[in-house]
């Protein structure tokens, strides 16, 4: 049994049947990290000692009590999610030596069931970027092609899962930062409904958009992680008091008769031909499985990027005012270029004389977009399309022109602006590079996403493909 290849479900079964111990599973991952991560750069901080302690505790718990499927399973956590007494940098020089005194709720819930923390993964500085190139602390490469970016901002988390350097990972998604790297690395990435998972202890980027979610090897694994991290938290008043289903209950059902909306705006200008062909193939597969494809229109898709790049930087400029060099972190000259750019954009958009034309106008168009989606969801169960308009690109290809990088967010920002859940699931390969299929559903309907994504995954098996390292 190759321990690092196991999915979360398989690892749990093997642990349950005493075929393996968490200690063995953890050691196997630490060994693989030692062998491969020099090349990949997925991790910023390794917590080997803590991991082995947790593994031992997990083995004890597995022996003595009824435990959870995550107990003893090794995970990677994006380094913007606070972990008590473990350095949390946000990929920034400003927090290079910052060690939080408390844990984010999402991580705390994993720790409560003795999930094993292997380490903290690389990201674009403060999660601002789509390639992980904006990290001030390291370079992460795409396991499928070492000359290409892993996507971002959760690039380290996606690369770690793709390369079997963790059984699963947590990421955060403000404008696509879970889904796009998942798509680039051939893994599953789920951004839950805004408010489904607590944001407490997640270093804030844009508070009306940020959401924590799983990056996993399979759709089932993503559901298993969501089951634990989701739910109301008294420390985050925007986390919702919604009834929590067992998300694995949605798996395995037939998609026959389900209505899948295909927005024509998701297949227009800017979409790479190879991505288009691959995603069309995925849609044909869904139709073959008995779902009906329905043409829909989201006319404001094109403007979504403009809304996003006003709302997000405005919130960024407020959130990052706290790094004043007094309470924690270093002084503000330690911010990287992209962070400064976004703080400037936001400060400008909110400044006297411009607020109405920029921020307020964007907040109005955000409602237009929201209304369009609500209309579409009256007719369909989920919306399908590509996750990213482009294949994983080469290092430096887009860094000189921020606007071209921003425009690559076109299919993902809508879900954040509207607060709806979305998932990226492996949909095949073009030129040897992974392509992701994105599904979006209405608020609180993660179940529908998981159901369709799971049926697609079972019928195709693309998530089983592994990069050669």
């Amino acid at each position: 049994m190759e321990l690092t290849k196991l999915t979360l479900r398989e690892a749990d079964e093997a642990l349950k049947e005493r075929k393996i111990s968490s200690k063995e599973l953890t050691e196997a991952h630490l060994l693989r990290i030692a062998e491969k991560d020099k090349q990949l750069g997925a991790y910023l901080t390794l917590t080997a000692e803590l991991a082995l302690e947790q593994a031992e505790k997990a083995d004890q718990r597995r022996k003595n009590e009824e435990v959870c499927w995550l107990t003893g399973v090794p995970a990677a956590i994006k380094d913007i999610i606070s972990t008590k007494n473990v350095r949390t940098t946000a990929g920034s020089k400003i927090l290079e030596d910052y060690t939080p005194v408390y844990s984010a709720t999402a991580y705390q819930r994993l720790e409560d069931v003795t999930t094993v923390l292997l380490g903290k993964t690389n990201l674009d500085e403060f999660a601002m970027g789509a390639s992980t190139e904006n990290s001030a602390l390291g370079k992460t490469v795409n396991p499928w092609d070492l000359e290409r970016v892993p996507g971002g901002s959760s690039g380290g988390s996606a690369a770690a899962v793709a390369a079997d350097l963790a059984t699963f990972a947590l990421g955060t998604d403000t404008g696509g930062s879970i889904r796009q790297p998942a798509s680039f690395c051939n893994v599953v990435g789920l951004k839950p409904t805004y408010g489904r998972v607590s944001r407490y202890g997640v270093i804030a980027m844009a508070s009306s958009l940020d959401q924590v979610g799983p990056i996993a090897k399979t759709v089932e694994d993503a559901a298993l992680v969501l089951n634990i991290i989701a739910g109301h938290d008294k420390y985050d008043s925007t986390s919702a008091k919604k009834e929590l289903p067992d998300f694995t209950k949605f798996l395995g059902g037939k998609v026959k008769g389900m209505k899948i909306g295909v927005p024509k705006e998701f297949f227009g200008k800017g979409l790479q031909a190879e991505v288009k062909t691959t995603v069309e193939g995925a849609l044909a597969k869904l139709e073959e499985l008995g779902a009906s494809l329905i043409d829909v229109s989201l006319p404001t898709t094109k403007e979504a990027v403009a809304v996003y790049y006003l709302i997000m930087p405005s919130e960024v400029s407020a959130n990052l005012a706290r790094y004043d060099g007094i309470r924690f972190g270093k002084t503000r000259e330690n911010f990287g270029a992209e962070v400064k750019r976004r703080i400037m954009l936001g400060t400008y958009a909110l400044s006297a004389g411009y607020y109405d034309a920029y921020y307020l106008k964007a907040a109005k168009v955000r409602r237009v977009l929201f209304n369009e989606l609500q209309e579409v969801f009256k007719r369909v169960d989920v919306i399908a399309g590509p996750t990213s308009p482009v294949l994983p690109f080469k290092f430096g290809e887009k860094t000189a022109d921020p606007l071209s990088m921003y425009l690559a967010d076109i299919y993902t920002v809508t879900a954040n602006l509207a607060g709806i859940p979305a998932i990226s699931v492996p949909a095949g390969f073009a030129k040897g590079l992974p392509v992701g299929l994105q599904l979006q559903a209405n608020h609180w309907e993660e179940g529908k996403l998981l159901k369709v994504a799971h049926a697609f995954e079972q019928a195709t098996g693309f998530s089983k493909e592994k990069p050669k390292l």
Partner: protein
């Protein structure tokens, strides 16, 4: 429509408002990059009619969230100060603000 080409003076003012320190070269670069992004954003948004549309700030329909005001233990003073750059008698120590 208002001009969306930022002047260097405007950028310098934003730098000050944002409490950033930028080099001349950075200011130069940001002046053109910010102009490009703002210009793109405004041109796109102008195409959407929002005459009778109210801005949206809450996307999941959450209403005011209230709780009873009960005291509970939080971080100790030592814990809260653990990452402070400078402390003095259990306080954050900062540079003088009023000159």
């Amino acid at each position: 429509m208002m001009s969306t080409k930022l002047t260097k003076q405007e950028v310098e003012k934003v730098v000050q408002l944002a409490n950033l320190e930028l080099t001349e070269a950075e200011i130069e670069k940001f002046t053109s990059q910010l102009s490009e992004v703002i210009n793109y954003n405004v041109t796109e948004l102008a195409q959407v009619n929002t005459e009778k549309i109210a801005p949206i700030t809450n996307i999941t329909g959450l209403k005011n969230v209230l709780r009873t005001d009960e005291a509970a233990p939080g971080l100790t003073q030592d814990e809260a100060l653990a990452n402070a750059k400078q402390t003095h008698n259990g306080f954050f120590k900062v540079k003088g603000i009023l000159g």
